[in-house]
């Protein structure tokens, strides 16, 4: 089951990269994708039954525009702080708590935090994340969790948990 998911992903990537549809390209792609699936099938996907639930893909489509909007906002925020002559920054490292369980969800949460305005994830330990914040508004853990994590946590829990 795990190997089938990896085979489909690898074969789709091959099709996108070569963008040719004659039988020679296709057979070589099948062979390479089969080899990849045979070698690395155990470490790529952890819970393969989640890959076949349509609901998760719909939540992912809902998540994408929110993420892109936060990303663009983050860029204007950085532009303001960098181009301002006195540089209005108050940096610090705060600690927040997350309720997500699976590894993939935690990776996505850390990446999302890095791309959102003014935050950069430094380390993760069990359920605590350490976050470098360029403009610290609150040093308390619960308050910082509400400000940073809760925007994405609800949607990511629907996608990955």
């Amino acid at each position: 089951m795990k190997r089938i998911v990896l085979f489909i992903v690898a074969f789709l990537l091959w099709l996108l990269l070569t963008s040719a549809l004659d039988w020679q390209h296709l057979s070589i792609g099948m062979g390479v994708a089969f080899l990849v699936a045979f070698l690395f099938g155990n470490i790529f996907v952890q819970q393969p039954e989640k890959c076949f639930q349509i609901k998760r893909y719909l939540w992912f489509c809902y998540y994408l525009p929110i993420f892109l909007w936060e990303c663009i906002k983050a860029n204007f925020d950085v532009a303001y702080r960098v181009l301002h002559p006195r540089m209005p920054i108050h940096p610090g490292i705060v600690k927040v708590r997350t309720q997500l369980k699976s590894d993939m969800a935690k990776v996505c949460l850390a990446n999302s935090i890095t791309m959102t305005p003014g935050t950069l994830s430094v380390d993760i330990k069990d359920e605590y994340l350490y976050i470098h914040w360029i403009n610290v508004r609150s040093q308390d853990m619960a308050e910082a969790t509400k400000l940073i994590v809760s925007r994405f946590e609800r949607i990511l829990a629907k996608i990955f948990d």
Partner: protein
């Protein structure tokens, strides 16, 4: 028409790249530099790729440029995360005007 829209998106991407590099030179310590540079340069390069996709349409060059976008979005924040953790374990202090450092306190307890 597609040429003009693609060109505008590419110009916006290059402007974001410029802001990121100014931040890299100007900000005071490693973590702030990493933050500004990663955000701006990632979105700027993704903008360049998307502009090329709009200029070229669905031929092989455009599709390859489109495939680059998720890879950049997956790899760049992960590299930034690894560098920040490595720098903190290496012993780089935060800027002297920083507000708080919870990670340093927790590292002593462990």
């Amino acid at each position: 028409m597609n040429e003009i829209i693609g060109m505008i998106i590419i110009v916006v991407g290059v402007v974001f790249d410029t802001i990121g590099c100014i931040g890299l030179v100007r900000l005071p310590d490693v973590y702030n530099r990493l933050q500004a540079a990663t955000k701006c340069v990632t979105l700027g390069t993704c903008g360049i790729m998307f502009g090329i996709f709009i200029m070229q349409g669905f031929n092989s060059l455009g599709i390859k440029a489109l495939v680059c976008i998720p890879f950049i979005f997956l790899t760049a924040p992960t590299a930034a995360h690894a560098l920040a953790r490595g720098a903190h374990l290496f012993g780089v202090k935060l800027w002297e005007k920083s507000v708080c450092d919870k990670y340093e306190e927790d590292k002593k307890e462990m």
